[in-house]
């Protein structure tokens, strides 16, 4: 296997992009990444696109062909593959891209992630999100995605794993970090009380505990590490990409206070990268709901069980803190165009690893970790980037 490097990244602004179509945002992110990598585009020999539900959001299946066509890659007949894994679609597309280069099957791959969510009304988009849970035995029974996470939160509070304030602090952390991210959907700070008092979505979670509905796209360019310096002065090494599965339905787990798939994917990634959790300088975690951020920080081993909440509450996870989490603003504040999310995490970590994160730049970056989740922890990818 070959080592793989990220040599270019790009993303659109995340948010309500009323003037832009799915094609527009997909193309824009790809162009930015290719430009960032200093390529003409003809070098690309493979494409992977993370997208969750274009079939329902814009009534368009066959996204691979669409993106290949509009990005000009179809004229070179570049193979384009769409990857779907609920909320983990982007992370999984990234993993497919890395595997394609590592295996020697491809030499220059672009991984994109895109979702256009605002072309349907809110109830429809919620229904689409809910379909990443077990449609037959959760969603149809009245369990929304928010309520499944709320049930986790309720039980966590009941068992003393986190307080309501600590859970709310995940949102406060993401919002504070997003202030310095020009691509973020919400560039404003919030307070614990505002999160707790936000209108109820699924108690105990409120509106400010939930990631927004967003449009957006992100892309990264991958090539063998040995070739990376030919294209850029600042390649970033992909130290690990791992993935783990769990039951589709949350109620079939042994425990709902932790996502086993995150734990396993993290173990595998740390082993592959030859590091441990304490070597992680910065992490982008899947805070689609605030409680997910608590679980992620613990399951990744960044904090001990029962201690993540306190860390968020005390600001340890802020961009300037000891263990920065979601310097981009995370899903909560940067936005959550589902298929783009996992790729956007790589974009942010690449900036951090190569020192181009501007006002969000952390000190002495060495390893950056991204955790991307599908459903209620049914599929998780953990990727580790290394500054070189």
């Amino acid at each position: 296997m070959r080592e793989v490097a990220v040599i270019g990244v790009g993303m659109t602004k995340f948010g309500e992009l009323w003037d832009s179509s799915f094609r527009d945002i997909g193309l824009k992110a790809g162009m930015l990444a290719i430009e960032d990598a200093g390529l003409s585009g003809d070098e690309i020999d493979g494409m992977f696109i993370g997208n969750m539900a274009s079939g329902r959001f814009i009534d368009q299946h066959h996204i691979g062909a669409l993106i290949a066509d509009y990005s000009g890659m179809a004229s070179n007949h570049v193979p384009a593959t769409r990857v779907e894994a609920g909320g983990a679609s982007g992370g999984m597309a990234f993993r497919q891209g890395v595997m394609a280069v590592a295996s020697g099957m491809h030499d220059m791959v672009i991984v994109g992630g895109a979702e256009k969510m605002t072309d349907v009304d809110d109830p429809s988009s919620n229904a689409i999100i809910d379909s990443t849970a077990d449609q037959q035995w959760e969603s149809s029974m009245g369990a929304t995605m928010a309520s499944l996470h709320a049930m986790i939160a309720k039980r966590c509070i009941h068992e003393g794993m986190a307080t309501r304030e600590e859970i709310a602090a995940v949102s406060v952390n993401s919002h504070a970090n997003a202030v310095d991210n020009p691509n973020a959907q919400f560039r404003r700070a919030t307070k614990i009380e505002s999160v707790i008092r936000s209108s109820a979505v699924a108690e105990p979670l409120g509106m400010f505990d939930c990631a927004p509905i967003s449009d957006g796209a992100a892309a990264v360019v991958l090539c063998p590490l040995e070739d990376a310096k030919k294209h850029t002065d600042k390649p970033v090494k992909v130290a690990a990409v791992s993935q783990a599965s769990d039951t589709l339905a949350l109620f079939q787990r042994n425990s709902i206070l932790s996502f086993a798939a995150t734990r396993v994917a993290a173990e595998r990634a740390y082993a592959r990268a030859g590091i441990s959790a304490k070597d992680v300088s910065v992490a982008e975690v899947h805070d689609n709901y605030t409680i997910s951020g608590i679980l992620a920080a613990q399951d990744l081993g960044l904090f001990k069980k029962g201690e993540a909440g306190k860390a968020f509450l005390e600001g340890v996870t802020l961009t300037g803190g000891k263990m920065p989490i979601n310097t981009s603003g995370g899903l909560k504040a940067q936005g959550h165009p589902i298929g783009a999310t996992g790729v956007a995490q790589i974009v942010e970590l690449t900036h951090q690893m190569r020192g181009t994160a501007d006002k969000r730049q952390i000190a002495k970056p060495r390893y950056g970790l991204a955790q991307n989740v599908g459903g209620t922890g049914s599929a998780v990818t953990v990727s580790i980037l290394e500054a070189i």
């Binding site: 029974m141 369990a143 339905a249």
Partner: protein, 134 residues
């Protein structure tokens, strides 16, 4: 119109929480599975019908305000995970109680209710929900 057949074939689980028990290791599953994820090949042909207990207690729950259209007239409604006396977790709505009076550990039983209707002219889908025990 949503699929009639897709719902129809799930009626045993929907109406009566019929699951399966692995003849090899004894683990109970809901919904029914044709393969035990633990025993895999050793469980082939040994998955037996198992009627999950109609009683249990609330393991966790949430009061849903941002509700799908199907539940508009019941907002806010409670959805919970219930641990049955067989030790199986089920997800379903908890009804006939003020959602804010539900507590973790509260004893409940299953009842048959409408789960959703396929519009004004489509099929009505029934399934289990939970109510406080008598």
């Amino acid at each position: 119109m949503a699929s009639v057949a897709r719902e129809w074939r799930e009626i045993p689980g929907r109406y009566n929480t019929v699951g399966t028990k692995c003849g090899a290791c004894g683990k109970i599953y809901f919904p029914a599975r044709s393969l035990c994820p633990k025993c895999r090949r050793a469980s082939v042909g040994k998955m037996e019908r198992y009627d999950i207990s109609e009683e249990g207690e609330v393991y966790t729950f949430s009061v849903v305000h941002d509700a799908p259209d199907a539940n508009m007239r019941m907002k806010p409604y409670a959805v919970g995970m219930v641990k049955t006396t067989d030790g199986v977790l089920l997800t379903g709505q908890i009804v006939d109680i003020d959602p804010h009076r539900i507590e973790i550990g509260m004893p409940v039983r299953t009842v048959l209710r409408k789960i959703y209707e396929d519009g004004e002219s489509g099929v009505i889908h029934y399934g289990f929900k939970f109510v406080p025990k008598w």
